[in-house]
Symmetry: C2
């Protein structure tokens, strides 16, 4: 699965990365060269680069750029603090920066830049390989001649590889199984409308956008044969937190007997979380509801309910598609075995 | 139930109506005086006045204005054609205009203006009385201390009376049963974000807006004790077509055992439609999806799935709330009796 565009590209010789500027999408496909920690921080803060896994890679690259400029402890510590502070709730960003700092400080300054570029590159390679395995594992679950419904953005723009749910969709398309992909708008941040449709069109996959309100009607109509989403955290029993709106899709899929799949790398499974009730749900700003990008439709001052995620009970999930293969119910056992693998 | 604002007001002595200009909401509460058929047509076409029942009243008023100006056959026929052409799919608008024309042509020109003003006024009075009965019947279904979730706009802005689902919410609030009303944004046209929140705040009811994607999470969280919507057409078996997104709410309500009520006047029940599969669903323009009011988020040219309505199976509906009382399952029998009443 080769991507028809490159969300992030490393140029160690020039101590530079090139990112696809996601704020210009879907109107324009613009790439930005980032050659300083300051530029990487600005790009992360401005959401030019986004998506949890891709942010981890961007953070690792930021540390490599820092070491190329000045590989002494104080400089690397400052770079790590600056990078991690750009989006404090992005777990993978913080973890990648922390890991890079630790690895660098363990060796002499002279070797640090080379090590960090190598590590960032290995991280991107691992993501690409993992995503490709998810895609290959999941494509077989898509019957020939299927239309698929997905939610939010789970493609290369989110992970840097082929994506999670999106990797399955692309693989199924390349294997000739897929007729069309339906994408929800994904209020409030519109990742489906802005990013997923763009990726689909860019990959040459026939794409249909729908309001989130129309998803149940689409599923009821028999218009899709498979529903597939990504995941933000999967508990030990299979309960799955993902972008808000996922639960509604899973309920409709069950009612109208359409299979509902969740695609995620094994790192998304959290064995220390027993079930969905233990997953903390981030609630976001009221201003995101009743408006978008400076436009305002609702009366000023109205309160808002704006959870970023919802929790889909394991009983609504037909199977998990991972970089280590498919997991079928009963999930507690399958998830434990998945994480035991070496 | 007295409304704190007046969506339409008749001034027969001045051959004029005053409408609340809904295109200015929620930013400004502006009223427009309409004293010619041309002005009424413009107001309907520009969506200054909207909502199926309210459009019927506006159409009847337009015919009265026409008769006040020139009550001869040719003038009234032209007015009827012009009014009906403003929104060809608005059934109640066309029916009201047709009825007014028929009634006028049956008598001498001299008496026509008075007759049509009287008829329009009676139509508005009947709507107000019917909505008040829906509100009173439904309020008793809202347990004391409840929060309620609703969808789209079903208030005075839609009907000219107290509304349908909204009448129940207002009555429950006035009876001290309600703690808060949650309103979905209602993509793609945002009637919940733009109109329902405005009506709630204007009525002094604590209001919380949510993205359509968050509705299942809200219901799952136990945050609402009742879900209530309006209806566009109810089949003889109780299957209900309503604003797209209703089906998803009903599925979540059933899964998490929250009662799901549909409020509608008896005229919304259609005994000639056997079940939901026989209800034609209007599909609207692709341009409504992936953007709003001139703003565009999705790539140009992406296809869209944009049904205006969905069909909720009768089995998901806890009860119907009508101007003739509550209907409980089995619905086929209850609906038949409802329509047999004189």
């Amino acid at each position: 699965v080769g991507a028809p565009f490159t969300p992030i590209r490393l140029i160690p010789d020039e101590a530079t990365i090139v990112i696809l500027d996601q704020t210009a999408l879907p109107a324009r496909e613009e790439y930005a060269r980032l050659s300083s920690v300051r530029a990487v921080c600005e790009a992360i803060r401005a959401l030019r680069v986004r998506g949890a896994p891709l942010l981890g890679i961007a953070g690792a690259c930021g540390m490599a750029i820092a070491a190329s400029d000045d590989s002494h402890d104080v400089s690397l510590r400052r770079a790590a603090a600056d990078l991690a502070a750009t989006r404090p709730t992005a777990v993978e960003l913080g973890a990648a920066v922390e890991a890079a700092l630790g690895a660098a400080l363990a060796i002499e300054p002279a070797g640090r830049a080379a090590l960090l570029w190598q590590a960032a590159s290995a991280m991107l390679d691992a993501r690409r390989a993992g995503d490709a395995r998810i895609g290959k594992a999941g494509a077989g679950l898509v019957p020939h001649g299927s239309a698929v419904l997905t939610h939010c953005n789970t493609g290369a723009l989110a992970t840097g590889g082929a994506g999670t749910a999106f990797a399955v969709i692309r693989c199924a398309w390349e294997e000739g199984r897929l007729t069309r992909c339906y994408a929800t708008e994904t209020r409030p941040l519109m990742q489906g409308a802005r990013l997923t449709t763009w990726e689909l069109l860019r990959c040459g996959i026939p794409a249909t956008l729908l309001p989130d309100t129309a998803a149940a009607a689409l599923i009821a109509s028999g218009g899709v044969q498979v529903v597939i989403t990504g995941a933000d955290r999967i508990a030990a029993n299979g309960d799955t937190a993902n972008k808000v709106g996922t639960l509604g899709l899973a309920l409709a899929a069950q009612r109208f007997t359409v299979p509902f799949y969740v695609a995620a790398p094994h790192s998304t499974f959290d064995p220390r979380t027993a079930d969905g009730s233990a997953i903390p749900i981030e609630h976001r700003a009221a201003a995101e509801v009743g408006g978008f990008e400076g436009q305002r439709w609702a009366p000023e001052g109205v309160e808002a309910f704006n959870p970023a995620f919802d929790v889909t009970p394991a009983s609504l999930i037909t199977a998990f598609i991972t970089d280590r293969g498919i997991i079928l119910p009963p999930y507690a056992q399958g998830i434990a075995s998945l994480l035991d693998e070496r």
